[in-house]
């Protein structure tokens, strides 16, 4: 369909009354693309770090996410086991993520950790996260070897570890972090704000449409 492509581009250029960009104008748009300037960033996303964490917690809760605080990473297995027991969860699906593998799970006897991608019918998953965005209480997760995307969508309950040191104010801060990784774009970037929902039946909000019915954020005070 190269002729279709040509025709679309020549239509666009005819409308713009010019040939392909060149010279100074081309440099201008190239520079803009490379500099990726931000538009106005809301004042509420530019708070000092401590207030950002409070804003994250407030906005995430407002979006119906549930927060469990962790005083240390070592406390994670016990907290997760406690949550699992209270909610009838016997199996947690998780990738083989070193931050979880290095923990001592011997006390969490009631729940098993399965290292695989998620399948239909899974009750709960446990994943890490790349960062949190205070502006709207949003989690950012990146797909990768230890973070398959299905874990974020198939299970009924999604437990996510968020280190409070990774909470940023605005989405722009998060893009900065992503670029600083220096690995280009992963296949999938998920921005998740609360559990799945739909208002398609009479505009009345129901939680748990196709994605997780509950989103549990394990907020690590690091």
């Amino acid at each position: 369909m190269s002729s279709s492509r040509q025709q679309i581009f020549s239509n666009i250029r005819r409308g713009l009354k010019r040939d392909p960009l060149s010279g100074e104008r081309l440099d201008q748009v190239r520079n803009r693309l490379a500099a990726h300037p931000a538009s106005t960033i809301p004042a509420r996303s530019q708070l000092p770090p401590a207030e950002q964490i409070a804003l994250f917690a407030q906005m995430a809760t407002e979006a119906s996410a549930e927060l469990i605080e962790l005083p240390s990473l070592d406390a994670l297995p016990a907290k997760v086991a406690e949550f699992a027991a209270a909610n009838g969860i016997t199996e947690l699906v998780s990738a083989s993520d070193s931050q979880f593998n290095q923990l001592d799970w011997s006390t969490a006897t009631e729940v098993t950790l399965s290292h695989r991608v998620a399948r239909a019918g899974d009750l709960a998953s446990l994943t890490g996260s790349f960062c949190g965005i205070a502006e709207t209480g949003t989690l950012m997760l990146l797909s990768g070897a230890t973070s398959p995307t299905t874990l974020n969508f198939l299970p009924d309950i999604h437990l996510v570890l968020l280190r409070q040191s990774t909470i940023v104010g605005s989405y722009e801060d998060a893009w900065g972090k992503l670029r600083a990784r220096g690995q280009g774009m992963p296949r999938t970037v998920n921005m998740i704000t609360g559990p799945s929902r739909s208002a398609d039946i009479e505009q009345k909000l129901q939680m748990g449409a196709h994605g997780p019915k509950r989103l549990i954020i394990l907020l690590l005070r690091d």
Partner: protein, 480 residues
């Protein structure tokens, strides 16, 4: 979707007398505008963001060829493929070819109005591929053989009992009118489809040139399952959706959620860049982006270029008194409300959709809530002018306008007729000051009385006021 726009008047009339539809539309009128207003009030920078959104879209359109080339280059560099489609037929064929190469029997679909624009489902079905809609609203509509009446709340024209009935009939489950139970039913039914599908088709809210990414914005998570589980992911989108950078996309995301549903942020904002990487454990092995033009490139440099700024938030229809009274199906095609009244005549022809830009009170509410400040009333007026120029408006309308123009060019006569018809109407109204039935205006007075003109005519008042101002100005001068 089949085109029914020429029957607009009949369909609008039917809609006004359709009691269940009127009940359903009540949910819209009471919901979206209130939620939007609350979200906007929480964001003091919102007006500034609207101005920046408008300016950024103008910048993109002025450099559209450059950004589309950048996007394509990045998609290819990550192992994806861009397919260019001039029209619906080319887009459908590109998608069918991808499905055939994947030996696909069923495809799951995230919500996409562009797929409605190219009538994709019927085409796939006719060619042996079964499409399964996975957005809850779209799924309900597919079971009913129905079509969306709103661009983000597709089943807004239905009531709870419609959903209960169709689920009981098609799923063979006991009747329930519990919305939570209905949603659970759909969730379980669609789980099987997500896993079984060979190809997943989603739309895209934006295309990011910098990274070669497409983004979908959903609350349900159906789009994510659609694009993660099958072996092949196809994105169907249009050329004007490209944005330069992640930061630029961010500006539009801030505007979109608040303008659409009044949320601070939509639950799932998902960027897809190419197929799965070698180290990934899941995700599609193929990534295709079908970019449709369908008349959009011809809007550049035309009177209608500003319409290409649209980010499909639906705020214009949510606030429109006409849409609120008749719903989306009356408009007879994919895009209803004010944005549809401007876009539809371009996409299917003003001869087919000429009624749509006429169905406006020009109250201006649509423009006042548009996140990218599209002057929708002005653009509708352009269509009215085109329609008149091309002699498409009805004979009675043209005759009336001709008579008015004849008088308007003869000011003395015009003023005399104005004055005497005002006297005449006052006489007709009698003591009550109201006219129950007006000659040539029976359609109007059938539903309400016409109040009699009060006082003198505008021209007379103007003349009097100017006279007063002049005499007071000369007095002031005399005193100094």
């Amino acid at each position: 979707m089949q085109i029914h726009s020429p029957e607009f008047k009949q369909r609008a009339g039917d809609a006004l007398h359709n009691a269940p539809l009127q009940r359903a539309l009540g949910n819209l009128r009471e919901g979206f505008p209130v939620k939007r207003a609350a979200a906007v009030a929480r964001m003091p920078e919102f007006e500034q963001l609207r101005n920046e959104g408008r300016d950024l879209k103008n910048h993109i359109l002025a450099n559209l060829d450059f950004y589309l080339e950048q996007f394509e280059e990045k998609v290819s560099a990550q192992g994806g493929k861009v397919h260019w489609a001039r029209d619906a037929e080319e887009a459908r064929r590109a998608i069918l070819d991808i499905c055939r190469n994947a030996n696909a029997k069923t495809v799951t679909k995230g919500k996409s109005m562009v797929s409605e624009e190219i009538n994709l489902n019927d085409y796939l079905e006719a060619n042996g591929v079964t499409p399964v809609e996975t957005d809850l609203g779209e799924y309900i509509l597919q079971l009913r053989g129905d079509h969306p009446s709103h661009i983000i709340a597709p089943a807004i024209h239905l009531n709870l009992d419609d959903v209960s009935n169709i689920f009981a009939e098609k799923h063979g489950t006991p009747y329930t009118d519990d919305p939570a139970a209905l949603m659970q039913e759909a969730r379980e039914m669609l789980r099987r489809q997500f896993v079984a599908a060979d190809v997943g088709i989603t739309g895209a809210n934006f295309l990011v040139a910098e990274t070669g990414s497409t983004i979908i914005v959903t609350n349900e998570g159906n789009g994510d399952l659609t694009q993660t589980l099958p072996r092949v992911h196809v994105v169907i989108s249009t050329i004007e959706k490209v944005v330069p950078t992640l930061e630029d996309m961010t500006l539009f995301l801030r505007l979109l959620a608040r303008s659409a549903t009044g949320q601070e942020f939509t639950v799932y904002n998902t960027l897809s860049s190419g197929p799965r990487r070698p180290e990934d454990q899941d995700g599609p092995e193929e990534f295709h982006v079908v970019l449709l033009d369908n008349g959009r490139s011809e809007m550049i440099g035309s009177d209608f270029q500003e319409m290409l700024r649209c980010i499909r938030c639906s705020a214009c229809m949510n606030h429109c008194p006409v849409y609120g009274a008749i719903g989306g199906h009356a408009y007879g095609w994919v895009y209803p409300g004010p944005m549809g009244a401007v876009l539809t005549p371009k996409l299917i022809g003003v001869d087919q959709a000429g009624h749509l830009p006429n169905a406006s009170t020009f109250c201006g509410k649509c423009e006042s809530v548009c996140p990218v400040k599209i002057p929708l009333p002005k653009l509708m007026r352009h269509w009215r002018e085109r329609e008149f120029e091309r002699h498409l408006s009805p004979a009675g309308f043209r005759f009336g306008l001709g008579v008015w123009a004849w008088f308007a060019r003869r000011p003395a006569l015009y003023r005399w007729v104005n004055r005497s018809s005002s006297w005449f109407l006052r006489g007709m109204a009698g003591k009550k000051g109201r006219i129950r039935s007006l000659p040539l205006g029976k359609g109007w007075t059938a539903w309400r009385d016409m109040p009699a003109p009060q006082g003198s005519t505008f021209m007379d008042q103007w003349k009097q006021q100017q006279g007063q101002r002049q005499s007071s100005a000369s007095t002031t001068k005399g005193k100094s």
